[in-house]
Symmetry: C2
Subunit: 234 residues, 2 copies
């Protein structure tokens, strides 16, 4: 082993330890609590070294998201997400399985996402997520699964609307991943059924009823009535 | 005129002036910039008097939302929102007309809604909005417009998911009310078409195509590709 490769090994090792510590810090204090100084101190290196490896706090968040993306791609390959009317539901289940594995970490990431200062994390998460889903949605369009032509970018944005708002409820209410998955599943099934070809209508209708039944079985899915008088502002 | 009624008139007048000043402060500085002290100073009364009338800052926000609710109810009556497959689209148009009238004020309210400290404004807006839309959605169900039974609370929550996420994009991107209305309109049309009875399928399909075409005509509706490498985390 040459000196260079030892150095490289040590760099890789520091990189891995910094990312592990960063995940831990985010889990404990939210993404806002992630400071280069605290991070460097927690792994026993100087802040200068941490900056040299990752460039910035955004660089660390980006590296974490990329680690997850790689892990997610392996999961997608294994599960064979790629095609058919079920592909977006398989994608949803995979994402939720990832959350189940590290729920407090992902909840902290999305809490930061929905905070006023969450610009960085949105800029890192959003384009990547849009590209991934757009790929799946374009594939479904190419397979001829849609009877009404909706631009794949626009359909992807609507799926993201359901996805994001359900995540906001998840963060605000502290409900579990199962409820998140069912709420998004119901919305996805409705959006896809609206434009699907006739042969998938009955199946998607049964998904809508199944997700609806599961949600109704959970009291947390129904709105908590506020104490105030009716205040209906659109 | 008795002394009592003069006093009452003066109280009503102070109340009106405080609410006007509050709307102005929110428009200028966001709902977070609304302090009882600043508000009282701006209308030349003591903070004690402002507290005596409204109880708290949340009381002032609630009073503003209730003023809007009353205004919105008059608009709804005039427009005859109440029934038919178009009722949620009429409701959407009315809400957007309200925004067009005072865009910077409503944008500030929703910016506060999506900030970490927006608990108060969410607690004031959400139950009232859910009740209003649930009323419309329940009415549509009672009219027999839906072929697939979805609990009206669950359908309302899905409509709110589209509504809220589109508002988040509106706040973050600074795009106009027209785009907001078309994005929500597309999502609403898709959600309703998924469960609508056969006689409304063609009409809702045409709405989906119309909203889609309008959105495609606006470059802002399409995603801005981020500069970073693909980072696809579900």
């Amino acid at each position: 082993m040459t000196v260079m490769s030892k150095r490289e090994l040590s760099r890789q090792d520091r990189r891995r330890r910094i990312l592990e510590a960063a995940r831990h810090l985010v889990e404990q204090q939210g993404a806002a609590g992630l400071s280069m100084r605290a991070l460097a101190a927690s792994v026993g290196i100087s802040a200068v070294t941490a900056y040299a490896i990752f460039g910035s706090k955004a660089g660390i968040l980006r590296a974490i998201v990329e680690e997850d993306r790689a892990r997610f791609a392996v999961m997608m390959d294994r599960a064979g997400v790629g095609h058919g009317i079920d592909s977006i539901f398989r994608l949803l289940t995979l994402a939720c399985d990832l959350y189940r594995d590290k729920e407090s970490f992902y909840r902290a990431v999305f809490q930061q996402y929905f905070s006023a200062g969450g610009v960085e994390i949105r800029e890192i998460l959003d384009p990547g997520r849009h590209r991934l889903w757009h790929g799946i949605v374009s594939g479904m369009a190419d397979e001829g699964l849609f009877a009404i032509p909706v631009d794949p970018h626009l359909l992807t944005s609507q799926l993201e609307n359901i996805f994001l708002a359900a995540h906001m409820r998840w963060c605000l209410r502290g409900t579990g991943v199962d409820l998140l998955e069912q709420e998004i599943g119901l919305g996805f099934a409705m959006l896809v059924k609206a434009i699907a070809i006739p042969e998938h209508q009955a199946y998607l209708g049964s998904l809508i009823e199944r997700f609806g039944d599961r949600l109704l079985a959970s009291a947390a899915a129904l709105p908590v009535e506020g104490p105030g008088p009716p205040a209906g502002q659109g």
